[in-house]
């Protein structure tokens, strides 16, 4: 007997013997008895029921069997909706039982097992209903005398509560309790806190019901957070659950997930560790000799802790935890766990510095151990990194295609989503907005694999957030601001502000607002947005700050900021930002009329953009270059290189950029026409006017009045030199109108390109 005590006695918790120790995970409650009555009535009714009614009832049964206990009136209503006749007979049978004697209930349970007997039993033993029936019969037979009596009184209360309620208001049903003492006095005396507590305690769940509840909520959290219970009420339910069954480890895990939703470090750590403390116990129990189950959960405990710290941005702590997980996993030769660790290690390293080697290694190993999920996750990370590193686009796309094959083979729908989102982002990076648009639409209109299986649309993953954000920005770029804000509104609904991916749309929202403010020339608004952007992404924030400074003609401050940013971005190898910073710097130079200094900067930017195949940035650089050349007095050369850039800009560019490009083309045409013979000159000017018209429509789309004004002025001059007075006057009039609206900024017209 001493030896037995070596193992923890699971029957003894709080000095109380737990029911589930005997393998009874379910017990008889009045609600369940009502269901049993329903089932037996169903069997009795047999052929009398119509097909439609039968189908409706069958659909009703499963949630009833799995769900939490409910009041009799609600149950009756649910049955009535399917088949009023049956509801009546269920009610009568319950009434007979509740108002009869104990022996009626005993008789009922005796009769229940008959449904299995006979040559053609009504219920198949292994069907869902059959299992439920057998569970209930078993649970009932295990009850002691006093328990049977208690069950019977509970049934009576259950029924009486319903009877009483019929008289009183329907809504108040939830609140009233069986032993309500008569008179309103007492009721009023029961003040707030107690009543609230009682509501919370309303539904103690059986283990099965609890499992169902947990898995349902967990999958909702994963797939569609908005449909899950709100954090506070979910936590309340969990606390309630744990109060009645403190050993229910999974509830702690769900509580951990729930705390993550509200970014609560303290309680999430607490719940996570509690979960693993409990899990370690169950692991030891299931395999009494087993170091296997037990050690395994230790490793994953450390790994999860690392994940938690990583999630909250405690990278150093995460690394320590990860090291621990790796060490334990190594000691016990758990390659699968090691693989997981490796992936996390990569993620962590990525936060600090890039390391392709680690990742490649991880992918190879994962393939070797047959972990397709980790492998393709690795491939995706690798692709992302390579894309930033400027590797050949065709190879990357090939790799993504290969990993897509893997996903479809293993039906990893989550990874398919990620892959598409990644393609969207990569196309955007390369500046191919049409392709990005297409990919984004693909993901949004694709039916997820999960949908086929479970009926739950996976739609609050990061991929969706990414794609939707890109979509919003793409629309904003094309001047469809209403559509963009519609998308953002949708994002706000789908990813509430405290959820994990909310920061993404917050950033995009502010970026779009910023662009609009800049276009409208409301620099103070833009400036106020900078703080918000900085909070979400410091590099982007600094860049925007510099742009605002530039627009406000605070050149030296802007230059200082840009130089700092340039050095930082070069260090962290953020090439995209480096090019943008170079472009802005060049712009600063030509605004200060130092075109000769701007040229080498622009050439550097061009070289970088070409090397990293960031096509759109390259064409933007070319535009800048052309402008510089124009100012330096070589418009022919400028026109030449413009031909190179104008095509991609028109195909993929933002409306504003298109307008600027066309305006620039027109300027170059005019400038180069100066040396032409008169006939050719007129032709050149005509085509310049056409280009200006195009630029005008673009500017009108995004409501850039300043640019519009400039174009009109320019056009008026052209018409004047062509002698077309009527058109000239029209343009001049429009110009005058705009000019009165807007304050003049001192920069000479010809010198402004953007």
């Amino acid at each position: 007997s001493v030896h037995e005590s070596l193992y923890f006695n699971p029957m003894l918790t709080n000095g109380v013997v737990h029911a589930n120790v005997f393998g009874v995970r379910d017990w008889v409650t009045p609600h369940k008895m009502a269901l049993l009555v329903l089932l037996s009535e169903l069997g009795r009714a047999g052929a009398q029921l119509g097909l439609l009614e039968r189908r409706r009832l069958n659909r009703l049964l499963l949630p009833l069997l799995q769900g939490p206990d409910m009041a009799l009136s609600r149950l009756r209503k649910a049955i009535e909706e399917c088949c009023p006749h049956l509801a009546g007979s269920v009610h009568i049978r319950l009434k007979l039982m509740a108002e009869g004697e104990l022996k009626d209930m005993e008789q009922f349970f005796d009769d229940l097992s008959d449904s299995f007997s006979g040559t053609e039993p009504e219920v198949h033993k292994t069907s869902v209903v059959g299992l439920f029936l057998r569970h209930m019969i078993l649970a009932y037979n295990k009850l002691s005398f006093s328990q049977v009596y208690k069950l019977y009184t509970a049934l009576q209360q259950y029924f009486q509560k319903d009877e009483k309620k019929d008289g009183t208001d329907e809504n108040e049903m939830e609140l009233t309790n069986p032993e309500e003492l008569d008179g309103k006095m007492e009721k009023e005396e029961l003040d707030g806190p107690l009543r609230e507590e009682e509501i919370a305690c309303s539904g103690p769940l059986s283990q099965k019901q609890a499992e169902y509840f947990l898995s349902q909520q967990a999958s909702l959290l994963k797939n569609d957070e908005t449909k899950a219970l709100a954090p506070a009420s979910l936590q309340k339910e969990l606390n309630n659950l744990l109060k009645f069954n403190p050993d229910f480890a999974e509830a702690h895990y769900l509580s951990y997930l729930n705390s993550l939703r509200v970014q609560d470090v303290f309680s999430s750590t607490h719940s996570l560790l509690h979960y693993f403390d409990r899990l370690i116990l169950t692991g030891a129990e299931s395999k009494s000799n087993g170091d296997e189950g037990y050690g395994r959960s230790l490793r994953y405990a450390a790994l999860n802790l690392a994940a938690l710290h990583c999630r909250f941005g405690h990278y150093q702590q995460a690394e320590l935890a990860l090291q621990e997980a790796i060490r334990i996993a190594q000691e016990s030769n758990d390659h699968v766990c090691l693989q997981h660790c490796l992936s996390w290690l990569y993620i962590l390293e990525q936060k600090i510095f890039d390391s392709c080697v680690l990742l490649e290694h991880s992918v190879n190993k994962s393939l070797h151990f047959g972990l397709p999920y980790l492998a393709s996750l690795g491939i995706q990370s690798l692709v992302q990194q390579r894309a930033f590193a400027g590797k050949a686009a065709n190879k990357l796309m090939d790799a993504l295609k290969d990993s897509d094959l893997l996903h479809w083979k293993h039906s990893l729908s989550e990874l398919i989503d990620i892959s598409i989102a990644q393609k969207t982002a990569i196309w955007r990076l390369y500046g191919r907005s049409t392709m990005a648009l297409q990919q984004a639409q693909t993901l949004l209109s694709m039916n997820s694999l999960e949908a086929v299986n479970v009926g739950v649309q996976q739609n609050n993953t990061e991929s969706f957030a990414v794609v939707l954000c890109h979509l919003a920005e793409l629309h904003a770029e094309q001047g469809y601001f209403a559509a963009a804000s519609e998308i953002l509104k949708h994002l706000k609904e789908r990813f509430p502000p405290n959820s994990q991916h909310a920061q993404l749309w917050m950033l995009f929202d502010q970026k779009i607002q910023f662009e609009r403010a800049m276009n409208d020339g409301r620099y103070h608004v833009a400036d106020s947005l900078v703080a918000g952007i900085t909070a979400l992404n410091s590099i982007e924030g600094v860049y925007r700050k510099a742009i605002v400074l530039k627009a406000q003609n605070q050149m030296s401050e802007a230059h200082k900021l840009l130089q700092k940013l340039l050095i930082h971005c070069q260090k962290i190898k953020n090439t995209e930002m480096v090019i943008r910073v170079l472009l802005s710097t060049a712009e600063l130079y030509w605004r200060s009329s130092c075109h000769t200094i701007a040229l080498p900067v622009l050439l550097q930017a061009l070289a970088l953009a070409r090397e990293y195949s960031l096509q759109y940035l390259a064409s933007e650089t070319v535009l800048n270059l052309a402008f510089s050349q124009l100012i330096l007095g070589i418009p022919e050369q400028a026109l030449n290189i413009l031909h190179m850039a104008i095509e991609p800009v028109l195909a993929h560019g933002a409306v504003l950029d298109k307008g600027c490009a066309m305006f620039l083309v027109a300027k170059c045409q005019v400038a180069s026409a100066a040396s032409y013979p008169p006939q050719k000159k007129i032709e050149a000017l005509e085509s310049a006017i056409l280009n200006l018209n195009e630029a005008k429509t673009y500017f009108a789309k995004v409501d850039c009045k300043e640019q519009l004004r400039d174009v009109l002025y320019f056009q008026a001059r052209l018409f004047h030199s062509l002698g077309r007075t009527q058109e000239r006057n029209k343009c001049a009039m429009l110009f005058r109108q705009l000019h009165q609206e807007l304050p003049a900024h001192g920069v000479p017209l010809i010198n402004a390109f953007k």
Binding site: G15, W27, D277, H314
Partner: protein
């Protein structure tokens, strides 16, 4: 009527801290003991009687008269007498049945109290064979809710006397309405300050010093007992000891209750010798006492006093072997004999006797740890935490378990928890420091060791560890400082126990001074080295070297001061007196 009578009783009680009239106090104690007994409140009665016993006996003429009977009392007398005898036989429902409709305060209280106890008894009985969690929740509500409704009505009408208020408070507490419960208990203490039960319930509900400050308590001598008790609970040991001392000075020197409380207080600040001597004294005065003996056995266990512990275990076993404390003592006894399986068995038995006895969970965890059954240990500790979140030993035990499983980072969380609960306990700090050291977080480790030393190191190891850390980091200056402090510490304690690391300290110091060319100090240290086996050779070699170098160089000053490593005054001021806030180790993690 009852309220007026109670008010009269309240005015009878002398003002706060006024113990001049011990006879009056004794009278009050005797009468309240009687009144509690009449109402079946045995524990309060016992407490009052114990305290009364500690005071001088009264002459016949001064004995308090039996409480006068009112008309109502007389009417209910028969029912009360019958019901009280049923009550004493634990037939609560029967007692309640015969008390129905009684109007007198005493009978009414017994009526309500029987109903309460009946509900509690049924709850305990039924949790064993309930239908499942569903029933567990309901059992609790039934009796309590009705009682609450009835009592709150009476409370509003101001018809409750001190005992009635007490019962109302208990019902509220059982319903987890803590705030309301505190208010009612405070009211009960005002109406009937002599009833210790109400004070004790208050003790359990008050969780920190701030809460205590905002209570308006009656200004009576009972308040002193309450304050002393709650200070002990809140680990404000200094204050508690002061209070108890003044109570003893006031004339309660013979009270076993006070003596045991003082012993427990010393136990809490780990002043083991004092606690041990007080407990021995207590056992002499009250040889058949079982209360607090588990604490005594813990002390004996820590000091590894096997024969004493064995004697205590046998003695208690003879008195009553089915008491929680007895089981706990026996568990400790087996544990000391390294029979951990049996020890665990006895702790389990203690828990069967009283599921709310949380110390046993922690102790059981320790036993499983000894048996290397880590998973069971974790489970046991978790249970302890579930019963009481502030059980620092359980948190510490969890940390140790994970440390044994070689998860230093993982166990940081648990140690930190323990540290937060006991900010000036050096053991947690040293454990934290060791973990940080393992994780190579030397800055944090240094902080921990230093703080451990600053709050008064129990095991005297923090300084050595700190010194070794400095040594590792090549901070020889600080390392030497630490070693010097360490040696001073050891010497000032005057402990005979040979400390292993003393030789290491001297060796390092000798080398250090040698490098610094401080020959006198170096040779003093080297000579000290020679006193230890493991460093003798090194010491001698160093001495020879020093001699050579000295002869080469000029003759240095010869005045030999007192050895620097002996402290100037032997009173080391490192006793853990100050309350300190938890160490802020890293702000980002919980």
């Amino acid at each position: 009527v009852g309220r007026a009578g109670a008010m009269a009783a309240a005015t009878m009680v002398a003002g706060g801290g006024d113990f001049s009239d011990l006879r009056e106090i004794k009278k009050q104690l005797l009468s309240v003991a009687e009144r509690s007994r009449e109402r079946g409140l045995q524990h309060s009665g016992k407490w009052a009687a114990e305290l009364a016993f500690a005071l001088e006996p009264l002459p016949l003429s001064e004995l308090p008269p039996p409480p006068a009977l009112t008309e109502e009392d007389a009417r209910d007398l028969d029912a009360y007498t019958l019901a009280k005898s049923y009550f004493d036989l634990k037939e609560y429902d029967r007692a309640a049945y015969f008390l129905q409709g009684c109007k007198s305060q005493k009978a009414y209280f017994l009526y309500m109290y029987s109903r309460y106890l009946s509900g509690e008894k049924k709850k305990d009985d039924e949790t064993v064979d309930s239908l499942g969690p569903l029933e567990k929740g309901q059992v609790k509500n039934e009796a309590l809710r009705e009682l609450r409704v009835e009592l709150s009505k009476k409370h509003k009408a101001q018809e409750l006397d001190g005992f009635g208020l007490y019962l109302y408070g208990v019902v509220l507490r059982k319903l987890d309405l803590v705030k309301e419960a505190i208010d009612v208990f405070v009211e009960a203490a005002h109406v009937l300050p002599l009833h210790w039960g109400a004070w004790l319930e208050l003790c359990n509900l008050i969780t920190d010093k701030e809460m205590l400050k905002f209570l308006s308590l009656p200004d009576t001598w009972m308040k002193e007992f309450f304050l002393a008790h709650i200070y002990t609970e809140l680990q404000l040991i200094e204050e508690a000891l002061q209070k108890y001392q003044s109570l003893i000075d006031a004339g309660f020197s013979k009270s076993t209750y006070i003596i045991s409380q003082i012993a427990v207080a010393y136990h809490n600040i780990r002043d083991i010798d004092k606690a041990l001597s007080i407990f021995s004294e207590l056992r002499k005065q009250d040889p058949y006492r079982i209360e607090n003996m588990d604490t005594f056995s813990n002390l004996l266990y820590v000091r590894s006093m096997k024969p004493e512990l064995s004697y205590l275990a046998h003695n208690l076993c003879e008195i009553d072997k089915y008491r929680v404390e007895t089981c706990c003592v026996i568990g400790n006894y087996y544990s000391l004999r390294s029979q951990h399986e049996k020890a665990a068995l006895y702790f389990q038995r203690a828990l069967k006797l009283n599921p709310r006895y949380l110390g046993a969970w922690t102790l059981m965890g320790h036993e499983y740890m000894e048996m290397k059954n880590t998973s069971a240990a974790i489970q046991a500790y978790r249970h302890a935490i579930e019963v009481n979140k502030r059980d620092y030993r359980a948190w510490y035990g969890l940390g140790q378990t994970y440390e044994i499983l070689k998860m230093p980072f993982y166990c940081l969380y648990y140690y930190r928890r323990a540290h937060q609960l006991r900010p000036n306990d050096s053991r947690m700090l040293v454990a934290l420091g060791e973990c940080y050291e393992k994780l190579n977080q030397l800055v944090e480790a240094k902080k921990c060791y230093w703080r451990a030393y600053a709050v008064g190191d129990v095991e005297k190891m923090a300084l050595v560890k700190l010194a070794k850390l400095h040594e590792q980091l090549n901070e020889s200056e600080q390392a030497a400082q630490c070693y010097i402090k360490y040696i001073q510490d050891i010497y000032s304690c005057g402990e005979v126990v040979e400390h292993l690391e003393v030789s290491t300290a001297f060796r390092y110091l000798a080398q250090y001074y040698f490098k610094c060319k401080l020959w006198d100090e170096a040779s003093a240290c080297a000579q000290k080295c020679c006193a230890f086996n493991d460093t003798r050779e090194e010491g001698k070699a160093l001495l020879r070297q020093i001699l050579q170098l000295r002869n080469q160089g000029e003759n240095s000053s010869t005045d030999v001061a007192a050895p620097f490593f002996l402290p100037a005054s032997l009173s080391a001021n490192n006793t853990p007196t100050r309350r300190v806030s938890p160490l802020n180790l890293s702000s980002v993690t919980p």
